[in-house]
Amino acid sequence: MINFRSLRVRMVVFLVALLGLVQITEFALTNSASYSEARGKIEDEFSVGERVFARVLRQNSERLSQAAGVLAADFAFREAVATGDTGTLESALENQGARINAKAVLYIDLKGQVIADTLGPGAAPHPFELPQLIAQARTQGGASTIDLLHHQALQLIAVPVKAPVTIGWIVVCFPLDLVLAQDLKQLTGLDVSFARESGGQWHLFATTLPATADAAVQSLLPDYAQALGTRALQMPDGQQQLRLVQLGSQAHIVAVLQRPIASAMAGFRTLRNTLLVLGFLSLAFSIAGSVMIALSITRPIERLLAAVKRIRGGDYAQRVEIARNDEIGALANGLDHMRTGIAEREQRILKLAYEDPLTQLPNRSQFAQALEQGIVRARQSRELLAIMVMDLDRFKYVNDSLGHGVGDHVLREVGARLRRMQGESGCVARLGGDEFALLVPASTIDSVIAVAKRIIAALEIPIVYEGQPLDVGTSIGIAMFPTHGENSETLVRNADIAMYVAKRSRTGWAVYEKNYDTSQQEHLSLLGELRHAVEHNELRLHYQPKVDLTSATVSACEALLRWDHPRRGVVPPAAFIPFAEHTGYIKVLTRWVLEEAVRQIAQWRGEGMELQVSVNISARDLLNRDLPDMIGALLAEHRVPASLLCLEITESGFMEDPANAITVLEQLAKVGLQLSIDDYGTGYSSLSYLMRLPAKEMKIDRSFVSRVSGNASLTSIVSSTIELGHRLGMKVVAEGVEDSAGYALLRDLGCDTAQGYYMSPPLPPADFTAWMKGRLPGNRVTDPMPPGPSPRSAPAQSVYPAVAAVPCRK
């Protein structure tokens, strides 16, 4: 199938059509010119032949006239004529006629009487049948004609007999015969036929034509004789050109001159055939030439096209090379430059896309690819493949306190150390931030753990920056292929989970276990459900009273978040708060909690119960610079004094980003909010930060308080912590007070406030109100009495056995 859109085909078709047109036109013109020339030549030749014919006839006639003249002038002949003896005369005529090969000779006297006739000897004198011949001879001194005499077509010559004046006429008759016709044919080159008419019938009586042609010519004569001139005649052996020439004064004797056109056209045919052959040859050459030209143009274009296709397909290896000095060569050269340019740029883009510019380690994308490949390889070789995900402990602190330059230096150094430890087939990548990942081909999980330990050890060596040692540790999560996942996504996620476990457990490393994943899986579905919970009011705030140890009164409580899940029942905060923090949803939760708490404060105030409510604030919340304004607006909306709202922040909360946290906390303090340091003693909080915090309260972690009675070292920690808090100007709250011994001890140690199941578990607002009213009318604990359930609060406690079993978070 020819594609007419193809440049080559279009060029070839155009050139061939053009050349073909030219050839055809040229042939047509030449053919027509040579044809008309040939026809003209035939006409010319024919005319020449005809003129020659006429001239020969005339000359013949003149020659005969002269011969007749000589005859008539012969004295003896005249003498014989003068004798008046017919016999003598006839014999003389016959004798003279024989001398000049005459067919017949007649003597006619001045009266026009035939006196003697060699064809009819002895006849009586009778008038001459052709008096006009004599009349013409009389006026012109002689005459000749061609006419019928004695039923024969004859050339007749009449000359006077003079003695010395004209005394009579002799008429000499010569035949029109084959001899004459052949003579004429020889001289004119035309076929000559003589024909005569008698009684309406034409008869061809002498002809040079072959016998077969006679009939054809003869059949034409009746029509043709009507109009003398040139005619064409189709003869059995081809077309002939004919001309009828009248002989004599009357039209009953004609000469037919003819020649075959074919023979005259033979030269033309040869020329035409030569032209045709030449035309076809030159057309063939033109076609071949145009195809070659088209190919010479389109072939390099096709090569260029192929090169473009290669480049499009990402194959930059092959050079685009067409050694030509024309535009195509230049185009090929340009394309080659483009090829190298694209290749370089692609290399650069790939580097940008797959390499971390800071550490020059592969980035997350390349790690994903390497992981995919590693999985394929491991699957084939049935080996294990370990994926380690790690991040740096305290990196944020370094970055924030010492600047990004130092952070970058740390990352570069960590990258360098990891690279040094990278095995032959392994891969080290920086996933982003302070998060790194390693791919370790391994035979056993123990060897992987060994690698993890070596990494931890390597990173424990302080990184020196401008002479200062920086201490960064790491937590590594390990997931194994195929044990912990078949695909890269699962493996990375599981390693990530393991890393969080390691971080939380401060073990340095953790190998993924299935049960890590369940909580993680729950988290995923939790997000949607949590959103649903907020929107459908499934969240509740429970309140746990804070008992003033000196006065035994309750002037404050802590709001604790509960989720009454329609299917799961009560979901503990530990199951969704870390997740909410992780996803950023904590912001919504915090706002909800704050709104609910402020609303509750306002409600209690309306009921005449002025209580300070503590709300736990996530470390993430402290990064939210809008928080102070939002709280201010809430308080204003519910007309609640800021002093009734207390925000509890864990040590680790602000240690992640102390500078920012302190800024926000200071703003909150400025508004008049109470700030409390939660879970004190569990983190790594620096005392200098503690000093700088605008907090008015410190809560000792339950891990110290719940077992404090009877434990000397815990007692001294608690005692000195209380001392520290008081020295820093803060009130000290003990959490997790579970028995009367503890309660008494804390009061003795000078602790300001106690909170715990010993007094009350967290209660829903209504129960909390009831507890307040029933347990302590006037809000007062009169004595360090065992805080057993009051008659009215007992049902409340028994209603929430599950709640009581769940340790309060934060």
């Binding site: 005339r58 006239s65 002269q66 013409q136 012109q140 002689g142 005459a143 003079k162 010395p164 002989l247």
Partner: protein
């Protein structure tokens, strides 16, 4: 050309006079059919009573510059005509006319014998070797004959009274074409003029055959 015949007039007259006491002159005006006067026509009157033939009469037709001189002649029968040759070439005079057939072999000078013309009739003379030479000799049986002059008048003098046949001829008419008419001459009438109209054919020019 007319000199010689005029010179002969006295001789003829002398011959005629003794036989006729009463005579009249007749002027014949010769004209063509169109009325144009014809010169050198021969007019002669033949009396119904036969006249005596001329005896011993002589006549000369010379050949000068390949021309018979004179070209047109009339003699009474019985006249001997001599054909001297004044050219320095030879001539061969002949006649095939029925009135007198003769042929003089090639000759030069004046050495030939005269030819006697004893029968009346027109004799056409030619030269056998010079076809262009032609002369006419009218032989008449009467002494009364004359040539018309430049104005076409031929004078037949002293015609005795009587009946005649008047013949008028002009070259190159044939004998048959000669005009003849009866004529009565009355001696008393003086200065009679008779007018004759004749049709003179043109002498055919030398042979030349036109193309067919």
């Amino acid at each position: 050309m007319n000199d010689r015949p005029t010179m002969l007039w006295p001789a003829v007259a002398l011959v005629c006079l003794p036989g006729w006491a009463l005579a009249a002159d007749l002027s014949v005006r010769v004209q063509s059919a169109a009325g144009i006067p014809l010169e050198d026509a021969i007019v002669y009157a033949v009396p119904n009573v036969p006249a005596r033939a001329a005896q011993g009469a002589k006549y000369v037709i010379d050949q000068i510059n390949r021309t018979f001189v004179p070209r047109v002649n009339v003699v009474q029968s019985g006249t001997a005509v001599s054909f001297p040759n004044s050219d320095n070439i030879r001539h061969s005079v002949y006649s095939f006319s029925p009135a007198k057939k003769f042929a003089l072999k090639l000759y030069a000078g004046r050495l030939t014998d005269p030819v006697l013309f004893d029968r009346s009739g027109l004799v056409v003379l030619g030269c056998n070797i010079h076809d262009v030479m032609v002369a006419w000799l009218m032989v008449v049986d009467t002494p009364y004959f004359a040539h018309s002059d430049r104005v076409g008048i031929a004078l037949l003098a002293r015609l005795p009274s009587g009946d005649y046949t008047l013949h008028t001829w002009h070259a190159p008419m044939t004998e048959d074409q000669e005009r003849s008419e009866p004529l009565h001459v009355d001696a008393g009438a003086a200065g009679v003029t008779h007018t004759v109209h004749i049709d003179v054919p043109v002498d055919p020019t030398p042979v030349s055959v036109p193309p067919p």
